[in-house]
Symmetry: C2
Subunit: 221 residues, 2 copies
């Protein structure tokens, strides 16, 4: 699914459900915004990223639209499927050894939450922090700061895995070794509470390894 040169991403989904095309298009766009549009490998967008959903109506019955009783369940399933595909795509990235999930809560707006989560997930210094299993919180704070989201250090808390590393402006007493130990597996979780509002977003990225360089530097047209 990931072409090793341009991260070209083509995503085709099919369903037997009947549906009104305009509702389906709207639902698909909203789904892309919380799944495939929230992943990053190297910030370089593909020239042909595409997500298509085909509904052939084979299942019969009333076509889905906003008022259909099955609409919420369909939407939920679509988001779940797209999120899994998005995460698989990141796991499959050039040289990636770890999937980094960045969840931001307490943002002032959804836009802020998305920006903060994506910036942390795509920061080369956060990525190499995970590569080296080195819990350097300054890098997460730096990425939050440059994201453009409203951030107040005194209200910000950060978790790595299940360990709270930074609480409302100050490092916690959790030892460095424990925090670094939270980054040993293939799935690394970073959670941020900005303490400013009630908006959330999740983004996914991967670590940046020497293998990424080898693959992308050795590729020949």
């Amino acid at each position: 699914m990931v072409h090793p040169d341009m991260a070209t991403m083509l995503c085709f989904l099919t369903t037997d459900a009947p549906a009104h095309p305009s509702w389906l298009q709207e639902t698909l766009a909203a789904t892309a915004d919380v799944s495939l549009n929230m992943i990053d490998v190297d910030m370089d967008t593909s020239t042909s990223d595409t997500m298509l959903l085909f509904a052939n109506g084979a299942a019969g019955g009333e076509p889905l639209d906003a008022g259909h009783p099955a609409a919420p369940a369909f939407r939920e399933a679509l988001v779940a499927l797209s999120t899994e595909l998005a995460k698989d795509l990141v796991r499959d990235a050039e040289g990636a050894r770890a999937l980094i999930e960045v969840r931001v809560d307490g943002a002032h707006s959804t836009e802020d939450a998305r920006r903060a989560a994506r910036t942390v997930a795509s920061s080369p210094l956060v990525k190499t922090m995970v590569t080296g299993r080195d819990a350097n919180l300054g890098r997460v704070m730096m990425a939050l700061g440059r994201s453009g989201a409203q951030v107040d250090v005194e209200r910000t808390s950060i978790w790595i895995g299940k360990s709270c590393a930074f609480e409302r402006g100050a490092p916690t007493t959790v030892p460095y070794e424990v925090l670094s130990g939270e980054m040993v597996g293939e799935d690394v979780s970073i959670r941020v509470d900005l303490g400013l509002g009630s908006s959330s977003a999740t983004a996914w990225g991967c670590d940046l390894t020497e293998e990424y360089i080898r693959i992308n530097a050795d590729y020949t047209t």
Copy 2:
């Protein structure tokens, strides 16, 4: 000058020239915009980037301001010095083996030219293209396309070093080996003519090597 963790950049300049503080501040800001603000190592901004200019007036004479006959020469010297410092800073980046100079001409606006130049200079895929000495123009076009600048492929031309690789929408007949040969030295030049206007900008970046990963993954707080 570059701290290997956060690309912390502190730049102190001194001059014996007397000068009006407000003119000097304005001139320094304009200088930063075409020198230090146009470099990139890894897109991660430092928490303490600083550029300061001290003028002690020891040289005597009329203080410099916009109307002073020596103002253009002073400004030119300041830009030249700051540009050299900016390039040295990139050359000194973690793991960098090549300085990449990206000049964009023919942009619709200065803002467009700056965006296009900075996006090409900071693209991981352009950086690894230089690491591998692999003239893959698709990566330059991709970066131009995602920069947000107005781009029309049919009017775009691209040079690598002195060789024109792409002319108004089509690859030239210059062989791949010749283009890749233009990327062998320590200074690699990419020039783009967008063919849409008369604005220009230059940005500087460096290649992305396995050494960058080693330095940033092995760093411990």
